[in-house]
Symmetry: D4
Subunit: 230 residues, 8 copies
């Protein structure tokens, strides 16, 4: 490993960005898919050596997580609900207010948990409002107060993704929409929900990639900590 | 024109189906796009000669309508809100109950009117509930009683098409969803709304082609007259 | 489990809609894909405790069904032909008339059975007219009387999905078209049949999602019971 | 113009293939879209100078045709129904039998005429069976004898394109399917009909490009003259 | 016009949402495409009567704007750079800090101005950093200080949309990416930029619809005013 | 099994078309994918009882074939190169001339063999010209004589599918193009080859579905036997 | 205009990259679509003031070109065959050898000329080999010597784009493939040719955007001048 | 095996192109996917017998490689990082200069190695610059000198593929962009990166198929050896 003037750790297979904490307030996040346990452990060690924490690993399956844990040691934790690994302790809760995470159905839960655990790791209170899809609107309407108390809202839904528009019309907070690949047939692995959310008739809604719970949690945290330091 | 044993009028450019009234309860409907005024007038005359009424012409622009009217005479009317021509008088109102037509926004109105005027021509009471998109949900919720009084509901929406799912979750009547080409960018000329409606998480919703107000009005009438004759 | 004023059972992983029977005439239907046997059993128990029956579980594979059955008890049945679970007894047969279910080929049968068993569970007589695709038109034409006796028709086909248009031209009843993912190559997992059905030149045809036999059976039942109570 | 050993006429903007008549039995066909009247006239003159006839120009609008006619002279004719120009006389009728051209609706007629006039130019008898779409199946069934008398059949349809499959199931002759861009919404400018025809459940059907009436007429002629010289 | 208990103005062609100011901090925004000048003027009058200001009209072309202005009077202004109409005065500048709007090229300017003028109307300072696409990276890098001083950043780009990822990697503020339809060929009217932005390897980026400058400006303002009232 | 006046065998799961031999010259072909060995054997028995032969089963994997063979007996053969089952003896060779089958590469061979064995079963001489893709054009050009001796040509290619156009330009016989799913990335499972072949600049080319070797062989045989009986 | 330390000219609407000549050997190229004549003239003046020449303007229609010429003066020339504007004199011919530009048909000529004139402006000899599509292969084969004498080859084709693969198999030079939007129907505005070229079975072929003649000419020049200075 | 006048080895399942070395400077490359070990070994033997070396086999998995090695002998090597087999020794290093290979992230490494090992086999020095994606731009900028020293650059990236444009703007060498299938959701298996790269706003960039490391390495070598023999 070669730390350099440009603040990166050159591992051969990876150039770990050691400048990111300073530049963006959060250390580099490791995309776990397509990397070996050895590679992930190497990257985590480089970041730990550089004093950066907490570090998240996304899309990490349990077997690979166990192999990483063995190499990295006890300050590495696996959060299976969100397929996340975490090196170091979560940050203390701060920010403007709670982040509400809303889902259309039970099958959207893994993506929602990826968002929730990311946001909690980065120092946010999270309120989970799950399985309140628009087919039974009273379930959502009964939680409007909780929604309106949140500083940022993450709306997670597959199939037709209508939840984002409905939530967007009820609140004054920014809404981050996460389409999921839940569904079949003309859902086309999340495309229907993605297009639906991009065309939301409610203003104040923006969209991240299909199944990108991490991105939503990260962005929500960033918004929630604006003016409050990271 | 040659009427035949098989009940069709062979006009050369068209084989008018004179059996359709008997077979399906409604005379052949003329798709006006891509036909000349002469062709349309010829088909209408053949149907009138065969005693079939009322006959609808869809996707008819005003200039062509004027040319048709000149050829066909006073029992032809043009209904510009729905770009429809009609030969003969509308049927008297009947069926199980009113058909409710709901739209997301003002721009969906031409498609909605195509549905409404089709249903009225075929003998249905129509209740128009326009501009009640989900961005301001209270507008829709304030009309739930009217929705629940309808025997069939037509939900017309562009952009993300969430209206169909929300309406579908509120009522026990069949919902016919009509995606419209209203929108821009990732609306892809109605594709987003179409996919959204096909993936509705509310049961009891089916879908017709983008901008197909006629098809929705026709089907709604057919359902509304089941068990009541046509 | 927490029943609430809003009539839902908050299970943590799910908010069961206990109001749906009253609002829509049929209890909440459980989408089985992406849920564990434990989750499904929990939802079924909540619905049973609220006195709601019959409850359908869709897209349920045999192994998961066995695990659900063990937890839920003898009033849960598995219907393997349609990959459906059912809690409680089917409703007695009622409605305006029989529902005819037509398929293009033998490979469409699982989707057709999902529709048929859904409709039978909800109290409808079902007439199965299978393997009558348009490549051998006399097979369909020999059953026209059965088709014309039905109050609602469900047309199930993959590949080019031409069956829906042909059936739609022969009858005066509403036709619900179900594209299936049967086929290969440019069938694109049901897209060809879906587009074909959406563009049907026969009026009176509407479409549900690819392979959505449940949705077709549910909607057909809803139409068939209009004016007859649920 | 430079005739060469390789049998081409090098016009600078075009390399006219003077070998094609010998190699393929028909002179080079000129694709009129995107060429100026001057270019078309130049190519036609080169072919005439090489003694090749008849030559077809496809996708030729009336104004450009008039400008070509002025330059080329009286042995150039314009066939507006098929947007075709023709240099030289049609070939005498020959081949195994008539070519039947079937359309779904009146709006498909321009594409059908492109096919018909191409086939007639190349020496085939053409039987036109227009506006017999599957929404009124008796119109097609009343012409089964004419269909079965044809040596080759061209099925021209837009919207859902079901006509090709239905015709394919009725006859023992090769069926060339031509999807048209007739329709709207989810017809996607002919894509729905194209996919439908490619997935035909009837064997013996092949497909050409959307709106490619010329290609169908050309291929039908080629098949019809097999074993009979060109 | 009928104000109601539910706080809407029922104009027949529109149900103006009079509750939105209270519910979401900003009055209803009027989507100008597909509405007549009469309809727009009617909606604006209803909102003015209800004391709501400022009101934006999006996608308004100059001719229609002139017709609206004539009906609505001097408190209506047209902002041609962003194709926006505005009723009432802009709000005074507030919020956490400036909003930076970055574009890839000169052709993206109309969309950027729609965002900028929306944000200015809603009370934000806007810093315009235009034509700094990644083909000449030093242009962007020379403005990093301005970027890092912003509380929210809007990145507007067509073609390959790489700007959003590059900006996203340089800053700690939320980045709202706006794909534009600038480009040709495989840009597919903004699809390439849209997909690019959704897959950004930089965390902290979310996306709105193609060419949706308004949505980006609105959301940026909402984020910028969090914790500061609207 | 119930033979009927309409000449079909109603097996419950299938309606075997016993009229097809008479109507189309070839017995019903069984699509093996998605059917059980029991179902296939049942259909074959019904066809054998009706004296129809030879019968092809397509897309049949070896295990299922063995199970079918056990039930059907020794007049059932499995042709693994083309994943085909065959009941009864192939027809004697006839028709106008040989059918040439050309492939772009070795990986296209299974589809080509499906075509070849289909054509041989139906009584045609087949000339195999394999692995002559356009990257090494001399391989194809060295076989031009064989190509020009064929009465029908089948061109099988994946990737960019250029072979069909090149072959189409060299011969005067009808060319049936079969795109294959060979390739990766932007081949999109055969879509690139399919689009390429549909847009062939060579006249006389038509296309069947991706990987549809059977359809090409069947159609080639039909064309080859025109005027010669089946 | 403000020249800066970073070598750019800040015009407000544009940040002209004055560093590009030094960094990349060619001055900034102006994308003419979506810019006004005033903007283009402003950019050209800034580049001229900075002593940069020759400068190309792409996608420039004749009317706008005339307006630019009026503002910029006599060292601006318009090249209508390639829709290009040019400020300053072309560079003297240099590089390793000639660049051959091959087209499938006459309709591809405007894109080919954009490439040819770009390459000539940048100091290359260009050999034009037009209208040698694969439907008449001898036309191409008669020019193999010219092809093999080129140091770089640009293959321009619409429809199925087979030309790129065929050329790629004949030569040892790099081939730059340019798909064009020539064609109709399933050509999908160049998509078919694009996919075809991306999947070329010939090695040594790379692809630029649909109709991007400029990009191909620019890249060919860059390759041709490697090791020779720019 | 039959060598022929046309310089091919006819193996039945393959026509090995023995002329390619002479015609294109490199022997035929074997596409390993979809071929058996026997077939691959047969082709390699034919090429070895014809004295052609080095020969590459692409997309070769380890098990098949072992089976090939056993048949072919010790001059066959397997290069697992790039899934490549190689018969014969690599060529000595030559050409104009080094080829730089740049990747966005660690997951792109297998595709990059396919390119690198191909280029090394064909006699090029390769400089690997891995994991320098634009989310941490300083990692790339710290390597600009290495980039600018290369004669050709290969940019390998998945997700949004922005790396190609950024690199393209920094250098004067030709850039070959390789989209990879790395990513999820709206990455659509490499489509997002592909479209992004095709629309690069940086001139001098061309694109090969998704994951086509081989093609990029081959083309880079060809460019690098121009004017230097192969």
């Amino acid at each position: 490993m070669t730390p350099t003037a440009e603040k990166l750790a050159a591992l051969g297979f990876a150039n770990v960005d050691l400048q990111r904490l300073e530049r963006q307030g959060v250390p580099e996040v490791v995309y776990g898919a397509g990397k070996t346990a050895e590679q992930i452990a190497g990257i985590l060690s480089a970041l730990r050596d550089a004093g950066q924490s907490p570090v998240l690993v996304t899309r990490l399956d349990p077997d690979k997580a166990a192999a990483v844990a063995e190499r990295v040691g006890p300050d590495f934790a696996y959060l299976p609900e969100g397929r996340l690994g975490r090196l170091g302790a979560p940050r203390p809760v701060g920010g403007l207010g709670p982040i509400a995470i809303v889902t259309g159905g039970t099958s959207d839960q893994p993506v929602a948990e990826e968002a929730a655990l990311t946001a909690e790791t980065l120092g946010n209170e999270v309120v989970r409002i799950y399985d309140v899809g628009v087919a039974g609107l009273h379930r959502l309407l009964s939680r409007v107060d909780a929604l309106r108390s949140a500083s940022v809202i993450i709306a997670v839904a597959g199939m037709e993704g209508a939840l984002a528009s409905v939530v967007g019309g009820l609140v004054a907070a920014p809404v981050i929409a996460v389409p999921t690949s839940v569904g079949y047939g003309a859902a086309f692995d999340g495309l229907a929900a993605l297009l639906s959310m991009l065309n939301s008739c409610s203003a104040g809604v923006s969209v991240v990639n299909i199944d990108n719970g991490f991105g939503a949690g990260f962005l929500a945290s960033r918004i929630n900590h604006m003016g409050y330091g990271h």
